[in-house]
């Protein structure tokens, strides 16, 4: 029973964290996944969050096997 947390772009670099596995027993929400994976680092303003490739907010509940992603505002195009 685990969740994968992924970090991209400037967030990955500033945290020095690419990917992390979190036990589901430790977390209920996306915000708690952040706290657990980053050991309580402050989340930069405007951080975007996604679960299984869909945008969510921090209070979104996570379940076994979810892929949770954290990243800065996007700059494609």
């Amino acid at each position: 029973m685990a969740i994968t947390a992924k970090f991209f772009a400037s967030l990955r670099e500033s945290l020095g964290l690419d990917e992390s596995r979190i036990a589901l027993s430790e977390v209920n929400t996306v915000a708690e996944v952040w706290d657990q994976a980053t050991q309580g680092a402050q989340m930069p303003p405007n951080t975007l969050m996604a679960v299984n490739m869909e945008y969510v907010t921090g209070d979104h509940h996570v379940k076994d096997g979810d892929e949770v992603a954290f990243f800065p505002p996007v700059s494609g195009g």
Binding site: A9, N46, A50, M53, P73, S75, G76, G77
Partner: protein, 146 residues
Amino acid sequence: MKIELYANAFNPWEELNRYQNTHALQGRVGAACVFVGTMRDFNEGDTVSAMYLEHYPEMTSAYLQKIAAEAQQKWPIEDLVMLHRYGQIQPNDTIVLLAVWSAHRESAFAACRYLIEELKTRAPFWKKETLLADNSSRWVQGTLKA
């Protein structure tokens, strides 16, 4: 419809020409609207020598598909193309090609505008540019959805 991510440089006009020649659009469409986004060699007062375009592959593909589907629901579109680069990019390289074919210009313009604006705020790409002056690199500030 063609939605694809390219690791290597591409010529948008050749892509369009090839697509138009292999898809039976003639007769059905009265308007084609095309947007080509190109890498500049300057940003925020600095000369930029190169750029790395990071992305979140599975989510990027899902979002390009999703944005295209939304545009098709909003306007009567006959066909569309969305091509986007990732990886190492040089000034003057095409970053994105968007093309929309429709019976009338209003829907072609509106849908093409929708594709680029939604892509810029929702598709998970991040630009990191290298400056010519000292070879340092920095992340480009992202666009927040209004």
